[in-house]
Subunit: 559 residues, 2 copies
Amino acid sequence: MPSYKAPLRDIQFVINEVLDTENLYAGLKGYEEATPDLMNAIIEEGAKFAENVLSPLNQSGDEEGCVWSEEGVKTPEGFAEAYKQYVDNGWPSLSAEPEFGGQDMPNMLGIVINELAGTANWSWLMYPGLSHGCIKTLEAHGSPEQKAQYLPKLVAGNWTGTMCLTESHCGSDLGLLRTKAEPQADGSYAITGTKIFISAGEHDMSDNIVHIVIARMPDAPEGTKGISLFVVPKFNVNEDGSLGERNGVHCASIEKKMGIKASATCVMNFDGAKGYLIGEPNRGLNMMFTFMNTARIGTAIQGLAHAELSYQGSLEYARERLAMRSLTGPKNPDGPADPIIVHPDVRRMLLTQKAIAEGSRAMLYYLAQLGDIVDRGDEEAAKKADDLMAVLTPIAKAFVTEAGLEAANHGIQIYGGHGFIREWGMEQIARDARIATLYEGTTGIQALDLIGRKVLGSGGKLLMGFTEMMGEFVEANSDEAYAEFTGPLATYKDEWLTMSLEVGGKAMENPDEAGAASVDYLMYSGYVVLAYFWAQMAIVAQKKIAAGEGDTAFTKPSS
Amino acid sequence: MPSYKAPLRDIQFVINEVLDTENLYAGLKGYEEATPDLMNAIIEEGAKFAENVLSPLNQSGDEEGCVWSEEGVKTPEGFAEAYKQYVDNGWPSLSAEPEFGGQDMPNMLGIVINELAGTANWSWLMYPGLSHGCIKTLEAHGSPEQKAQYLPKLVAGNWTGTMCLTESHCGSDLGLLRTKAEPQADGSYAITGTKIFISAGEHDMSDNIVHIVIARMPDAPEGTKGISLFVVPKFNVNEDGSLGERNGVHCASIEKKMGIKASATCVMNFDGAKGYLIGEPNRGLNMMFTFMNTARIGTAIQGLAHAELSYQGSLEYARERLAMRSLTGPKNPDGPADPIIVHPDVRRMLLTQKAIAEGSRAMLYYLAQLGDIVDRGDEEAAKKADDLMAVLTPIAKAFVTEAGLEAANHGIQIYGGHGFIREWGMEQIARDARIATLYEGTTGIQALDLIGRKVLGSGGKLLMGFTEMMGEFVEANSDEAYAEFTGPLATYKDEWLTMSLEVGGKAMENPDEAGAASVDYLMYSGYVVLAYFWAQMAIVAQKKIAAGEGDTAFTKPSS
């Protein structure tokens, strides 16, 4: 298994040299203290935790998996202990609101920490990761009493959370859901039904598990307009905050999966479990939408994580493994053969992995910053950021996870036959990466969201918000020295708009035309967005080299 | 797990309607009896065996895997029994030479039977499959005594064979191998070394296992010119053909793999094992090359198999699973939602799987027929077929296995989250398919073979042998009705030649240019070859429809 080494220099390059992070957070209310120095220090601590605590559990977690019994789910050796350290060190509260004990750091910093933890061990990250959605839901829509009751423990990490949406017959199409919520005399609801694919639905890491559940009330309208949202704790919570009796929600079994085997994917039975309505009745799906962008960026991180991890593993192997001679003459004349990194096709695969990992990192950090602007920026800036997020999020989620899977596949291929053998760890990365294009909205769902709701739905306006930025960037870097980056970018920008118009025109005749083009359209969009971020990184590096500034060992292309 | 249904109509269409099989075999010496009727009857029997015996063991074999102990390797429940049936029914001898008990049927028929068996259960096919290389090696290069000693039992299937090439430090670059062969007083050799990745190296299916081993004699020239070939039986064979004492070759362990888990991938220790030289000293690699094309086509079948199996599974699910409404209005108005097959992106994935499976089938059967012409045709026909095989084999091996992996991946995607769950079987197909781009020469190795040895190495002649055929086909079908197929084909043919020239030109300046382009070049070539076979199939179908002939339920496009 490749042991993870956090790419701190790459991370800092994006945060401090490519993005204008310092000025951004200096101007966002409450984030003034999130200086580069402070954030770097936190990132370095996160890197140590990821490298030293989580990475060593990645392969053993896959081998061991989770074990279900009537009493609950046992996570792999070391997982619960790692989680305890994570809580003791205050990581869960990093970017939560201060009112309930959060440290109020930018969401971007949370994304960086999730990248570190998730690259080291994605399965493990699923446990604290799912709390995020639960916390955000309660922060945004919970009553003051619900917030006071659940948030301090969730923010501290003593309790974890889940999102219970999917049922066996419905995933993407939540309008079909059957779980019932019947009003009780005490104002609570009796929740009855079976949810599947509930990550972290049951485990041995925390004292309580707080489920956010969508269900249908009696006489609710059919379809998505009759979905309400409930909070259903594993243990009921007494008024004084102590744990009360066991609620009627149980894990019936866990799934045997292709990958992320150390993450418990639970079938959850709700047998008249006590649930409490969040917000208004029948508004559940709308409430879920409020943090869907953040959740999708969180999943996009998985593509980046697995691209990075497979790249690290492949690079090391390609430098060491000897086979054949370079076609341009021996590069390791004293050895029996050359290291395979000399072979152009191996380099092609390595560079593809690298392009995906580093380009995606810039894309996702930028998106995370947009999220912070939406939360804390002035009205105009927030609106602009929100519009950019709307169009970029489906691209990021689907493209980065598809590209991450491609990178992981190259990782296997670079190892040759050894890539297929579990011991080397490369096939685990591909298995783990495979879920990312499926959950949190499949690639097809993202693609329909992009072309339908976002691009055509806004009459092209949301897309133009981004392409105009691309145009400004091209213009601001009109120096001949950058033409190799800005020239193609200008072309792609125009091509992207033309293509959007064409798809839109055909879709007016037949809506299925948009569906048929959607995934190719999304992937194309992803490559253009990736190119935009790579152009930024390349030009920043070239400017630094030209000015004789900084760290040329990092900025100069290696041979 | 999708249960396999042999696509007999598709298979017969290729054999009897697209390819001119009847006339071909009527004119090949010894194959006169291989009439369409006889071959169809055999294929139907093979389909029953695949569907009823092998398919039910596919998922259980994956779950159970193989178990190693000091005594040997236990294959999953039912595997040995299925092999016994296979032997009892005479399948191993189908396309072997009659001298040693073979039924002397065309190799193409063997390929079809392997497709059936391999689609049902690729892991299982690995056991009899590996015998093939062993038999071919002995047929071509064994002494009369060796043939008499080993071939009857191997051909009957009572014994199985292996190919022992790879060592832990060398796979693609066999020149680095270290296994030693020391001459003994009795004319045998003492073989010492460790081989890895030996499929079917040890198992519980047959009385004896015959290893074909490459090793280096003392004072052999370095590199690939010092490789000799040996036959090393698990049990020594007495003069009367009975089994003698246990030879010094043992399975040290089996690999834990991503997929094909029911296939034992063995580390084989040779501790001074008794081996017998095959052919001349130091000519081992050349001898291996004599049947490399056949072996590679055999592996290409895996891409076809997994494309077909994932397509069958996806199609069934897409017709049953309900989610969302069609963008063009409900297609299942009485149900709660439409089946997902109505969604254009799902159809795109299904059609991609189908295009890969059916196009690859035509390509591979054609290639198998070329192999039969090489073996049995007159000199001119054999030379022409050999040239076509030379250029098409690396394309078939690499492209079809890469495309098969893509199809298997779509299979997961069509199932959404369920695709990631083992129970549904779709993820197993992707795991099993993953090995095919690695073994028997990685995609990169095939791509270098294609662009380097075949295309540029022949000064373009081998490629032009195929593109001329494409040109003739386009000309022979100049009717306007077929322009949608022949038009693009004519363009691609020219583009392919131009591109080859360009790559060649750049490679003269820098050989690494060929390496850098090689895999993209190969994949492009694969799509063009696939298009050629699809055009043939489409035009045959259209001609039949136009003439009011045959089975329009099959030939007409479905809506």
